[in-house]
Structures are given as structure tokens and as C-alpha cells.
Symmetry: C2
Subunit: 232 residues, 2 copies
């Protein structure tokens, strides 16, 4: 067992082999890339529900930023020698299913989805990125997840709507809960199908750490809801 001399190959420290680790990174880039592409399409489409041109343009800007992230992630997959379409293909069905089950009924639901849904996904991916050894990949993922600078716009719109009609708050709080619920259903599905990716996240075997990760995600989600003036 001379291999255990290298900590990276110590099964206690790092239970993934190099090829498993590579598969997990390709998976992560693939799910992120397709996630950005479909978010771009849905967000651009949701922009048509805007109450005015300025709001329509603001959501359009957010959508275009997502497309830019998609391009960067796709090109990074290529630079790693992976086929981008192949890397994304396992995630088309679950991500499409998520979006099909969470089509916003109106402008405010679209905004909450853009803010809460993308925020939750970004937090999750950001946590996972920490498990990645390759620095250029980690940096690219963190850049793709950077706030597109339009979050403040969403916060203002939703708070104004809630101020104008208090009943809106309850409806949007329920909607946000549904978004998170549907996301978790699909995430579980992905975890079952993609061994390497799941192993990258929970493979440390340290359930306390996984618990802490979930606690952080929940905490940040609650903060986002509070910034919108909604109950988590």
C-alpha cells in the first residue's frame, strides 16, 4: 500500500480515485453549464411578463449574464478535453423537470424564482466548488456564480409589491417554498444517478460537515427571503 504515502490517495482523507474525481468535476461543470443555459432561456422568456420596459430589460440583463456563464463553463469543459454536450446530457431531464414544474404564473413569481432559486443553486454549487482541487476550475465556477449585480432590482420590486398588497407576501412565500422543494426532488434524483458527483460532496464520510453545509444553505436562503420581506 505504498500509495497511501500520498495523502491524496489516502482513502480516509480522499475517498475518490483520480478518475472518479475527474468524473465528478466534469459532472459538476456539466450540471452548472446546462443550468445556466436553461436559466437563460426561462428568464428571457419570463421577462415578457414584466410590467414595463425597464423591468423587462433588467430581467433580460440577468438572463444574458447567465448565458455568458454558460459559454465560460462550456468552453472550460472543452479545455479539459470533455465533450460539453455529453457532460450536460445527464442533467437535461432533471433540470427541465424542475423548470417545467416551476413555471412562474406572473412577473413576481418570475422574480422570486430568479432571485431565490438561483441564489439557492449558487450557494450549493459554491459549496461544492470548495471540494475541487483544480484552481482554474474552482475560480471559473465561483466567477460563474458571482452575483450579476441585478439582485437589488429584484429586492426592490418584490418589497414594493408586498408593501402595496400584503396578501402578496403569503403567496410568494409559498411559491418560494415550492421552488426549494422541487429543487431538492431533482437534486436527490441527480445524487442517485451520479455516483462520483455525490461522492465528491458526501464522500468525506463526515456527516457532521454535510449537516453544517445544509445548515449554511438553509441560513442563506432564510436571509434571502428576509431581504425580500418574505417568511422562509
Amino acid at each position: 500500500m505504498s500509495e497511501t504515502a500520498d495523502p491524496a490517495n489516502d482513502p480516509d482523507q480522499n475517498p475518490l480515485s483520480d478518475s472518479q474525481r475527474r468524473a465528478a468535476v466534469i459532472d459538476l461543470l456539466g450540471v452548472l453549464a446546462y443550468g445556466e443555459l436553461i436559466a437563460f432561456e426561462r428568464m428571457a422568456s419570463d421577462a415578457s411578463m414584466a410590467p414595463g420596459i425597464a423591468e423587462e430589460a433588467a430581467l433580460g440583463h440577468m438572463a444574458v449574464a447567465e448565458f455568458g456563464h454558460f459559454v465560460a463553463l462550456r468552453d472550460h469543459l472543452t479545455s479539459l478535453g470533455a465533450d460539453p454536450a455529453e457532460a450536460m446530457s445527464p442533467f437535461i431531464e432533471p433540470l427541465d423537470a424542475f423548470h417545467d414544474s416551476t413555471t412562474p404564473a406572473d412577473w413576481l413569481e418570475g422574480l422570486v424564482k430568479a432571485y431565490v432559486g438561483d441564489g439557492f443553486a449558487a450557494d450549493f454549487y459554491r459549496e461544492v466548488a470548495e471540494f475541487i482541487d483544480d484552481e482554474s476550475t474552482r475560480k471559473l465556477i465561483l466567477a460563474a456564480l458571482a452575483d450579476t449585480g441585478h439582485a437589488q432590482f429584484v429586492v426592490e420590486q418584490v418589497r414594493a409589491a408586498v408593501a402595496a398588497d400584503a396578501s402578496v407576501a403569503g403567496r410568494l412565500a409559498l411559491w418560494a417554498r415550492r421552488l426549494v422543494g422541487e429543487a431538492l426532488v431533482q437534486a436527490q434524483r441527480v445524487a442517485v444517478d451520479r455516483d462520483a458527483l455525490a461522492a465528491l460532496i458526501v464522500g468525506s464520510g463526515d456527516l457532521v460537515k454535510v449537516g453544517e453545509l445544509l445548515a449554511r444553505l438553509t441560513q442563506r436562503h432564510t436571509e434571502r427571503m428576509e431581504s425580500l420581506g418574505l417568511r422562509a
Copy 2:
């Protein structure tokens, strides 16, 4: 009638007053800007019908280019001292009506719409831009109408589909005819509502020239259809 000394104020040469001319330019920028914004939204949404990730990304790129044109046109309206939302508002209803009546049923219809529809609109706006005195506005419009470099992608996709199944050609030719028909219905509606814009185009009173313009538009449309392997 001392004003007729200036050819710009000679009613035979230039039937529009300065304020009418400005109104027409604002109208033109407004209809173009909203046209780009809605084309961005519809095209991004149509991308979800793509047969694969590469095709999906290609239509996404076309959509993002339209959004860039929208931003340039909107900012130019602001620089002219106009309110962009106000300038676009008269054209929301007719342009939305056009898109609602021409929602593509599948990927190929979406491609033909992106290529034939946008091509026809671009030719028309390009002709109208020639009537504009202000060079910076004229240049901006021509830049916004520049081919986004993805037309070749559409041509290849449609020709391959027609080669694989000859019956596709008839269906898509009919579809293209419907696109042009619906566009003309809405264009007529705009012409009736927007005096200054209509006057800018046909105000020369020279019906021969208007006839020539229509002949050029028809000719270019026929060429586009031929490049797709379809009958106009």
C-alpha cells in the same frame, strides 16, 4: 414663403417638418428597440426546442446578440433626450401580436422565423434608415441590423432537414409565407397609427420609389428562401 429657400423645408423635397422628422426617428428607434427586445425573449425561449446542446447554444447566441442591439438602441433614444419606454410603448401591442400569432411549433419553424422573419424586418428597417438625416442614428441602426454571424448555422440546419425529409420543404415554405403575411398585417396597423413614421417612408410622394422598395424587399426575401432550399 421664405422657408422654401432651404431645400430641407421645401415641401416637395421634404414634406416633414423638423418636429415631425424627430418624431419619426424616435418612432423608428422605438419600434426597432422593442423588436429586438421581444425577438431576444422569443428566440431564447425557442432555443429550448433545439435537438441538441450545440444547436441550443447557437440560437442562444443569436438571442444574446439581439439583446445587445436592444441596449444600444435604448441608450441612443436616451441620448436623443427621448424616454425609451415611451418611445417603445406604441409598438408593444403590434409586435406582441405578431409573435403571438407566429409561435413556432417546433425547432425548424423557430429557425425559419429567426432567419426569414428577422431578415425581412432587417431589410425593411435598413431601407427606412436611409431616410434618416442624422448620421449617428443611421449608423447605429445599420449596426443593430448587421448579421449576427449565425445565419449560416440556420441555413445548414434547414437544408439538412429538407434533404432528410422532402415533405419538410412544403411545410416550412407555408410557414414562411404566414410569417410574412402576419408581419404585413402588423406593419399596416403601425403605419395607420404612426403618421410621422409612415410619412418618413412614403412621404416623398414618389410611389415609383415605394414600389421599388417593395420590389427589393420581395427580391431579398426570395433569395433568403432559396438559400434555405425553400420556395418563396
